[in-house]
Symmetry: C2
Subunit: 414 residues, 2 copies
Amino acid sequence: MSPADQYPHIYPLTRPSVLAAHALVKPHIHHTPVLTNTTLSTLASTPQNKEALKGTQWEGQEPAKPKISLFFKCENLQRIGAFKVRGAFHAVIQLADREGEGDREKGLEVVRGRGVVTHSSGNHAQALALAARTFSIPAHIVMPSISTPSKIAGTQAQGATIHFSGSTSQEREAVVDKVIKETGATLIPPYDHPDIIIGQGTMAVELQAQAEALIREDKALSVAEGKEELDAVIAPCGGGGMLSGVSIALQGTGIKVFGAEPSFQGGDDARRGVEAGKRIESVKTLTIADGLRTPLGYWTWKFISKKDYVAGLYSVTEQNIKDAMRLVLERMKCFVEPSAVVGLATILYNEDFRRMVEREAGNKGWNIGVVFSGGNTTVEAISQIFKPESEVEAQREEGVVGRDGKKEVENVAA
Amino acid sequence: MSPADQYPHIYPLTRPSVLAAHALVKPHIHHTPVLTNTTLSTLASTPQNKEALKGTQWEGQEPAKPKISLFFKCENLQRIGAFKVRGAFHAVIQLADREGEGDREKGLEVVRGRGVVTHSSGNHAQALALAARTFSIPAHIVMPSISTPSKIAGTQAQGATIHFSGSTSQEREAVVDKVIKETGATLIPPYDHPDIIIGQGTMAVELQAQAEALIREDKALSVAEGKEELDAVIAPCGGGGMLSGVSIALQGTGIKVFGAEPSFQGGDDARRGVEAGKRIESVKTLTIADGLRTPLGYWTWKFISKKDYVAGLYSVTEQNIKDAMRLVLERMKCFVEPSAVVGLATILYNEDFRRMVEREAGNKGWNIGVVFSGGNTTVEAISQIFKPESEVEAQREEGVVGRDGKKEVENVAA
């Protein structure tokens, strides 16, 4: 079976379908704010210090001089602390509509009898558990038994049944198969599914409308000269469900969509895959941006590999992510997880991106929407991330931790 | 000279004066949001576990069962990251109006020739520097030479002249006197001044209006039964400038005002002083709530010691502050400094407060406004605060740090 057959969907993957999805999920999600921040827009519009480029691939080059106004979509303030509820609610509602052949209540009865299942130790698990609970559907979540206790507790608090597995993909899939055999539950995958992709795309519809309302209404706001629209949106790319959805949502608007990834240990698999013209199917990185450790899937590759959907992919270092995260925490006073800031890190520190904006936007500058994807981190994780490198080295020698202080398995779906 | 003669003011300390001050400062400050949070309101309305009361003065007692809806005034999102800009702008504008005998431009010319000065290593320093810069007034900030580099840099970035001093009150005041003698600058104290008190009070006017708008407009919001108003406001109390201002601002509204303090090393000086009927003039605490290490002043005592202004004062432990801070960071995704959460900590963990609410509010419950006073902390300070106690003990034995990882001087004005 091809993935297309495995996951039938009854609508085209287009902006109108995202708008329809938005109407479906809107009653169940928060309309998260879009914030601006003078300090960060000014910083983005200030050339980097030549010193800062030393040791990078841009050493010795003249720093770019883009003009940028930033609009932050705060999905860290979304229900369960991340955008994932959009896709989860959309998938559950679409599943009911399909099962009931358009009669949602009838379909929900069917789905209630079987349940839904997913394998995830992250935000998608909690999102699906919440969506299922909302419609009184049993949810089965397969998690590696080494998952952090707070994630297990968070998912249990949403009323889901946890099934523990080993930590490899094979071990997790075996448990999923067992659950499906025993219960008839439907698999709702974390990102590589049209329902999920279209659901996540709903955030772009809001971001566009909110940013443009801010530009119209707040005359004190410094924005791209003579423009009342967004020029671009940049979003983090892990499995690519959200980036694909955003790129579909903004088709025909003239707003360019960019993806941002961590470069650490090959975490920039989407960028490398697109460059090589072939999807990279396995990634093994312990980047601190732990929501972005996954490779693209069958569906997400279809969109992300096309220039008219995603105009470019850029990557940033662990230090770039840490620097951007510090700015967002300490200056914007927003509590975000590391994965959330790779877009901002790209804007501030990636000279290829900055030069591209300078070239394309010219003197007028660009209004850029930046997706803060989630805020599910802890004070302990933050302590670990900002620990002086000397202490981290000592821990690493003891074999205690990965880059973010956790022993993590590869390809854990976010 | 009595403090009253030293700081003449030309208006009564009443709600109408706060409303007038609000009109003066409004163009210069952010209208910070008031947020609600279902998780935290639910937690506040859930009796504490009996286990949690072990080892406290409430051990063995039946946990209180108050019903509470929370409305958070996010002054961590204020300019310079704290409410202090309200008082600083108000003081500078009032000074100009007094010097020009009502002709502000004429007064500003006089003030520009002399400058303003304060002694502070904290948020007030940056607030005064910003207010002064806005009106092209030279600002002199006296800081202990051991102040953290980020605070020094932050104040310099606002264009102020830094004067270093020793770290005792006497040493700092000596440098202030020297600056005044040399420049004719006017002292703008950090909290004990009518202009500052009335300026800080402006936040209560906004909080009241915003909370009541939320209650009217958001029908899904869980609020006190049949009520469209706030019942109470709780605010942190250090030097007491903000708490006094809030208590004046809410006179005649029927909204009760409460103050919250850290109990560590006698940091609850206001509560103890009011209980004893006599102001405590010196405090020496290294509480993690570093904005609240100061004793009340001449003016702030006048209001805080009166029951019809401040209905009650409550204190919380360091652990309570840490627990509340973790909730605000990890669950609300708001970046706050420890001082900001003592009000919430009181609501969640102080059984005297909780029993009082249960008694006064009965089955209907209370809508409580909670002031998040500021967000000026760093990832390093957070790492230090949430460090396992074992590591802190080791550092303490080495004499490296106080409770928050910094060597701090006593009575440093926030």
